[in-house]
Amino acid sequence: MIVGQHTVIRTAERDDARFLRAAYLGSALRASLLDVRKEPVQPTREELEELLGSKETARGLFYAVEDLEGRVCGFCGLRGVNQESLFAEVFFLFLSPEMEAGAGGEEAVQFVLGQAFNRLHLAKVTILVLDGETGLGALLARAGFACEGAQRQAVHARGVWHDVQTWTCFREAAEAPDNHTGGCHALQD
């Protein structure tokens, strides 16, 4: 358990399934909740309990973020660690926009970057972000992530096409927080 100034971050447990389920049922469309085909899914609570209750090797590096009062306010972690090319995909799932805008979100991002670069000794991490997730994009930019482009019209939801951005943070960018440029640029008109 990591006790920070604004959050407590710990390994996610079976009992966190109801909070995760709430995120899946929420109205906000989030890239972190899409499946491998970038389709929204609605796992049952039992399925999520099974996921979170599995052994650590199967579960990966899946963490719950609590506020200082012990309320679960988000999830974060790493998945798909590629040891050969030294990168992994990370994810952040905050249950309120305030977390993305505030110091709590920044603390969670720094925790995951620390896991990636200092514990697993990776060279970079990537994350998928939907075009509507502007709060998350701003948070990532503050942490040293840069947008490497967007897969156009890759997700269709509620009658609208959405672009899926890929953001990347290299170890050197994370270690130089004053040098963050961030921002998402379109590679093609």
Partner: protein, 209 residues
């Protein structure tokens, strides 16, 4: 044959197993696409069997494996439409030309063209994506000729020969493919993989000047 135009692209079958396993064992396949050199032929075979497995009737498959075939030369290459999302009407595309002497731009270009026609005209997809290594210049140029846009540059993403290379993410939307097809309509109408295959030198012949 489920799909046939001037360029013959048909669904891969169990009879293609040995051919595909042979291609997937080649260093070139693992260099330009994916795979683990340490994988045993048996593991590769099991993977291919699962890929070629027929979905039950009326089931919308998550992937379609197609063979580029020539009556005179036999199987030429493999086209894989993977991660098909029927909700998003999208898929990813991998193409491998197994016959090394046929790896010229036209054969590959027509294979890409026919695969995209199949994806858009037959499967009614909206978007086809592909991840192509930056050093595989011929492949991403061909994809660009088909109307695809470079959407992503994933820096230092894939390790080959001890060096981390960039990977490009490409995407082509239906209207972009239609426009590219309109612009290149003469090529599309006249292109025939069979004719091109016949005109190419055989394995034991010197290339024509």
């Amino acid at each position: 044959m489920p799909f046939k135009t001037d360029a013959v692209i048909r669904r891969a079958e169990r009879d293609d197993l040995d051919t595909v396993v042979g291609w997937m064992s080649e260093p070139d396949f693992q260099y330009f696409l994916y795979g683990d050199p340490a994988q045993s032929p048996r593991q590769i075979r099991e993977r291919i069997v699962s890929m070629l497995g027929r979905a039950p009737g009326q089931t919308m498959p998550g992937g379609v494996q197609l063979m580029i075939d020539s009556p005179s030369l036999g199987p030429v290459g493999l086209v894989a439409l993977q991660n098909i999302s029927w909700r998003n009407r999208s898929c990813s595309l991998d193409i491998y030309i197994g016959r090394t002497h046929l790896r010229n731009r036209m054969v590959t270009a027509v294979a890409v063209l026919r695969a995209l026609e199949y994806a858009f005209d037959e499967l009614n997809l909206h978007r086809v994506g592909a991840f192509i290594y930056a050093f595989n210049t011929a492949s991403w140029r061909i994809f660009e000729m088909s109307g695809a846009k470079r959407e992503l540059v994933l820096r230092r993403q894939v390790l080959r020969d001890g060096v981390l290379h960039d990977v490009y993410g490409y995407g082509v939307l239906r209207e972009e493919f239609d426009e590219a097809r309109r612009v290149r309509s003469r090529l599309v109408e006249s292109a025939s993989l069979e004719e091109m295959v016949k005109s190419l030198p055989a394995d034991d012949e010197e290339p024509k000047a």
